[in-house]
Amino acid sequence: MDETRYFHWRPGRAAAALALLPTAFVVLFVFIGGAGWAALVSFTSSRMLTIWNFVGFDQYAALFRFPRWQVSLENMVIFGFCFILASLVLGILLAVFIDQKVKGESVFRTIYLYSYATSFIVVGLVWRWILDPSLGIQHVVRDLGFPSFTFDWIVSQKMAIFTIVIAATWHGAGLVMVITLAGIRGVDAEIWKALKVDGVPNWKAYLFVILPTIRGSIVTAVVLMTIGVVRLYDIVVAMTNGGPGSATEVPAKFVVDNLFERQNIGLATAASTTLLVLILLVVVPWALWQRARQRRMA
């Protein structure tokens, strides 16, 4: 760190500290204090009201016996895996293809990203309409002369979760495209020249040199998407509201429902604390990895 960055001019430093005070307050009491409070409540027998009666891991034991929670977790894993994979593949392919000196590049980019600007509620509602079995795509194809065509995933217990994958990928692949393309464009032009002199075919250049070089950006995109997976709520509410049955229930919805509808605070905080731990399991190693990388660069 640059030595000259440390100033010892008291009044200015005091003003700076004062300016940061509200933020420090929020971090300390809302982020850390709030998460800690919720974690603490999860070890009590609280239901409608908070009762400071500690029961150890009872709420967690109850939680993991709850079929709806089990389904929610399972859905989160299925959704997370499919959504992240689909968005990565589509987003990276789009970025690489756009990078081939195509005409109308900015038009394509604008098209691939606009969905990212819309609300999850909008995304959920429009896909629910398109996938509606009685009037949506299934109906259109049947009218085209394929009367036995079936595409009713949204009302199918087994397949409904994948309709949410489709909608979420439509919303989020553009983000991967933007992050990847920014990474590709940031690669030194002389690396490309070296690849041409070495006679490396285009696809091998991307696969073995360019994409590994920008893997930091891609990992960042994956972390961001993982956060989105854990937070997944709005799309489900708009698209299926957890149904059919409980086929598309997700953990974040479990927390909100138990907190505000079923008024089971202990169970809700146990669920939300579990989510927090899951997030930390992803974010902390990533943050450490980033720090180590930045140290190595410096």
């Binding site: 640059d2 000259t4 960055r5 100033f7 700076a16 500290a17 300016a19 940061l20 933020t23 420090a24 971090v27 809302v30 982020f31 709030g34 409070w37 919720a38 392919l93 789009l94 756009i98 195509v102 980019r109 098209i111 691939y112 990203l113 606009y114 600007a117 819309t118 609300s119 999850f120 509620i121 909008v122 509602l125 429009v126 309409w129 009685s134 009037l135 109906h139 009218d143 439509w170 553009g174 983000l175 933007v178 992050i179 960042t220 995109a221 956060i227 709520y233 709005d234 708009a238 509201n241 927390v255 909100v256 505000f260 939300s272 604390t273 989510l275 927090l276 997030i279 974010v283 943050a287």
Partner: protein
């Protein structure tokens, strides 16, 4: 002509080969996938229910009508009341404007204090703030509801604005911290040598340079707040439900035959503000998500 082809001279002849065709093919098919929902929304919102019942999802409306749009805006039912989306629209404006102004101002000052002043605890504070960005909202719902209720901020405009500002503090701070750190540090030193203090340096030197980042932050914050659903649902109270919540209520409280055309008009209306920002700002929008994402 054949002689000229025998001797390579000048630019390499380019052929529009199958590879190029494949590239454009993939890009165009993808573009169709991305555009299709927007197209379906638009045509559905312009059709009378009659046409929709016949089920040509992709067909252009034979008798285009604006009636669904008018209904969605002014008379669709959101639960018990039937005043359309205009109430939600106004609420979203009431929520978005103060949240954006507050969040950007605080983010700016935070970024400035963290990047240029280097207090003893600043890197720790910044690290903790960034971790805050990763906390799922749901974790903080219970404690936040209790805290806000204690000071009378639960279920009203002040409550939802406070929550919106709190949850965007990390990203706003990050944006401005990185931006100020990218400016030449000598500028800051020069102001200090000239005897300017903390606030004076910010107001006279840093603020005038912050224009581009303010635009980026504004785009990011307005879009995010406008698109929020769950915070509005939990913290805004019945009087200030934002447009996204009202939209979901319209669609999910329908009894009898569902008016798909009105639903799609309502959906489009809700998407209109962020889409307008996106199509007008273009590169700035991309800059915002790139700046928020890559380092985030």
């Amino acid at each position: 002509m054949t002689a000229r082809q025998m001797v390579p001279d000048g630019p390499r002849p380019t052929a529009f080969g199958p590879a190029r065709l494949g590239i454009y093919g993939f890009l165009v098919v993808s573009a169709v996938f991305f555009l299709m929902p927007l197209y379906v929304m638009i045509v559905t919102s312009l059709k009378p229910m009659e046409e929709i019942r016949h089920g040509a999802l992709f067909a252009w409306p034979a008798n285009p009508t604006l009636a669904p749009w008018i209904e969605a805006w002014s008379s669709a039912c959101t639960g018990l009341k039937c005043e359309g989306l205009k109430v939600g629209f106004a609420n979203s404006v009431f929520i978005t404007v103060p949240s954006a102004v507050l969040a950007i101002t605080i983010g700016m000052v935070n970024g400035y204090a963290l990047s240029l002043w280097r207090l003893r605890w600043s890197s720790l504070l910044f690290g903790a703030l960034l971790m805050g960005a990763f906390i799922p909202y749901q974790v903080l719902f219970f404690p936040l509801v209790r805290m806000l209720a204690a000071i009378g901020f639960f279920g009203n405009l002040a409550g939802i604005v406070t929550v919106q500002v709190i949850f965007s503090l990390p990203v706003m701070t990050l944006l401005f911290r990185n931006y100020y750190a990218s400016l030449p540090y000598d500028l800051f030193k020069a102001a200090r040598v000239d005897g300017a203090g903390f606030w004076r340096t910010w107001r006279s030197v840093m603020l005038p340079l912050s224009g581009p980042m303010i635009v980026v932050a504004l785009i990011l914050k307005v879009t995010n707040t406008w698109n929020d659903y769950v915070l509005g649902l939990v913290f805004a109270g019945h009087r200030y439900l934002p447009m996204t919540v009202e939209l979901n209520n319209i669609v999910n409280t329908t009894h009898g035959e569902r008016e798909y055309n009105m639903e799609m008009a309502a959906t489009l209306l809700t998407a209109l503000v962020p889409l307008a920002i996106y199509f007008v700002s273009g590169r700035w929008f991309v800059r915002g998500i790139a700046a928020g994402a890559v380092k985030g």
